[in-house]
């Protein structure tokens, strides 16, 4: 299937791009932050968890994904795919698949480092730590689907556009009204992983939904923007 060809190409290109590794280095930041807080008795996960979910993950994925996808539309290299005999939506699906492989590795690395920081500075709860990779992989899927869509829809400033939306959904809106946390993909990732959503582990006033609901919300975050982008790109002029 042509989407797989696109995905393999995305993976190969990302693996040869120095920026992939530079951006992935952000994975160390939550662990470092968590280690500092952990050594002060606050618990590594209390500080590092929210930092990873609400700041580092969105930044990493927006930069790694929205940027290159937007660039391919802006410099028209996407034409090489779009003039092949397969539908345009498969190009976006392939971009999402390829970038998902890279992003999920980076986020799982961030989670693993945070878990190590927690183990070194506090009590290691192995059972709950097993949930972290699964939750982060789902967060990666949500962020990648969203970022590919933003890259296709706002090719001139894709990273900025992605970060503005994410700042609203992950930061500003939940601060304004607790219940808007239900829109936040970081909130649902925190439900799945058991990592705290609020900084320094403060309790949330919203009732946590069932795990299946949180997983479904993340999948909607992945699929819905991609569906919208596919519909728009299908008939849009490229230049």
């Amino acid at each position: 299937m042509s989407a797989l060809t696109v995905a393999r190409t995305v993976l190969l290109r990302a693996s040869r791009r120095p920026s992939t590794y530079v951006i992935s280095a952000l994975a160390f930041v939550p662990a470092l932050f968590g280690a500092i807080l952990g050594s002060q008795g606050h618990g590594a996960l209390a500080g590092g968890g929210p930092l990873a979910l609400r700041l580092v993950a969105p930044l990493m994925v927006a930069a790694m994904v929205a940027g290159p996808v937007g660039e391919s539309f802006e410099n028209r290299t996407v034409v090489y795919w779009f003039t092949r005999p397969f539908p345009r939506w498969q190009v976006l699906a392939g971009e999402a698949l390829g970038h998902f492989a890279v992003a999920s590795l980076a986020l799982v690395l961030a989670g693993a480092l945070l878990a190590v920081a927690n183990a070194l500075t506090g009590t290691a709860d192995l059972a709950s730590l097993a949930r972290i990779p699964v939750g982060l992989v789902l967060e990666a899927a949500a962020l990648v689907g969203f970022s590919v869509a933003i890259g296709a829809l706002v090719p001139k400033h894709p990273v900025l556009a992605a970060l503005v939306v994410l700042m609203l959904s992950e930061g500003a809106l939940p601060m304004v009204w607790d219940k808007l946390s239900y829109l936040s993909l970081a909130y649902h990732t925190s439900v799945l992983t058991g990592l705290p959503f609020s900084f320094l582990g403060g309790a949330s006033d919203v009732a946590a939904p069932p795990l299946a609901v949180s997983a479904a919300v993340l999948l909607v975050w992945a699929a819905a923007p991609l569906a919208v982008a596919s519909a728009v790109v299908r008939d849009r002029d490229l230049g």
């Binding site: 060809t5 290109r13 791009r17 028209r76 005999p85 397969f86 002029d237 230049g239």
Partner: protein
């Protein structure tokens, strides 16, 4: 027998907001090489983009082998080398072309074989495994051509394939394009380099400000541009004596003597003049050593059509 119509534009218009890209363009292109000419902003790239589905026409329809474009079936028969100079820079030419071959529906082994074949065909056999980011302009142009030929398309669209090439590379690219035309493909070459296009083909389409000015054989088009009399240059041993004889012909518009041995005249009926010249030369004992028509060429036709495009020709 009517030649096969491969590409068909029916009253195609394209607006970019208030800017007109194409205006009511209707044309038919068959097999062989067709030069697509026009100054910057004429609509050449827009015409190719409409053909490849990159942009949709605001009005009208485009067909390839009778199928409306864009369509997945049409894409199977179209190979396109766009004007862009950027590729998937992190990949080698082999990887880039192989990926596109797979995207064209080939299995892995066939894709790798076809990628190698087309890269050999365009002369990149020694640089297959170098990253595209290290390629010169000429190598990039050839890579673009290779990916356009992967699936052996019947229609090959080349947007400015000569840009940035040195003379040797241009000659090689011209040979490749001529081979494609000889193989019965419909090749449309958009170019500013008129003398290169003229070497490849006499079939041209001339666009100006989004409108079709002329389509057909360059010599036939020249013959129809009445408002510009034909220029004929003669080299002989007695130009003034011959001029005195020619001035009696009704179709002669002007006479000049660029040098002591050259006579240049303008005429609205070149065929009548070509018939009269041998008789006049014999009658006045003038020895003619050369005869040419300096403006029966693509550059002159292009200049006449685009500097005063009121009288379009088709």
């Amino acid at each position: 027998m009517n030649p096969e119509v491969v590409i068909e534009f029916n009253a195609v218009s394209k607006w970019y907001g208030v800017v007109l890209g194409l205006r009511e363009v209707s044309l038919r292109i068959g097999r062989g090489i067709t030069g697509l000419l026009g100054p910057n902003g004429a609509g050449k790239s827009t015409l190719l983009k409409v053909l490849t589905g990159e942009v949709s026409p605001s009005r009208g329809e485009v067909k390839v082998f009778g199928q409306r474009v864009p369509s997945l079936d049409a894409f199977k028969r179209i190979g396109y080398a766009p004007e862009i100079e950027v590729f998937f820079e992190e990949l080698t030419a082999r990887e880039f072309v192989t990926a596109l071959a797979q995207a064209s529906g080939m299995d892995g082994a066939t894709a790798r074989r076809r990628a190698e074949e087309t890269l050999h065909e365009v002369g990149l056999e020694k640089a297959l495994d170098r990253r595209v980011s290290t390629y010169s302009k000429g190598m990039r142009q050839r890579t673009k051509l290779a990916q356009a030929l992967l699936h052996d398309p019947d229609v090959v669209l080349l947007d400015e394939p000569m840009t940035g090439l040195d003379p040797l590379a241009r000659a090689h690219m011209g040979e490749l394009i001529q081979k494609l035309g000889a193989r019965g493909k419909a090749v449309v070459v958009s170019s500013h380099i008129l003398d290169e296009v003229e070497m490849m083909t006499s079939q041209i389409v001339v666009l100006y400000k989004g409108q079709l000015l002329a389509q057909g054989d360059v010599h036939a088009i020249r013959a129809m541009i009445d408002r510009h009399p034909h220029r004929v240059a003669l080299t002989c041993d007695a130009p003034r004596a011959l001029a005195a004889a020619l001035v009696g012909l009704p179709s002669i518009a002007a006479l000049r003597f660029p040098s002591d041995t050259t006579l240049e005249f303008e005429t609205r009926d070149p065929d009548a003049c070509y018939g009269a010249i041998p008789k006049l030369a014999l009658a006045h004992n003038v020895k003619i050593t050369a005869l040419s028509s300096p403006d029966d060429n693509l550059a002159a036709v292009f200049r006449y059509l685009t500097t005063d495009p009121r009288g379009g020709v088709s």
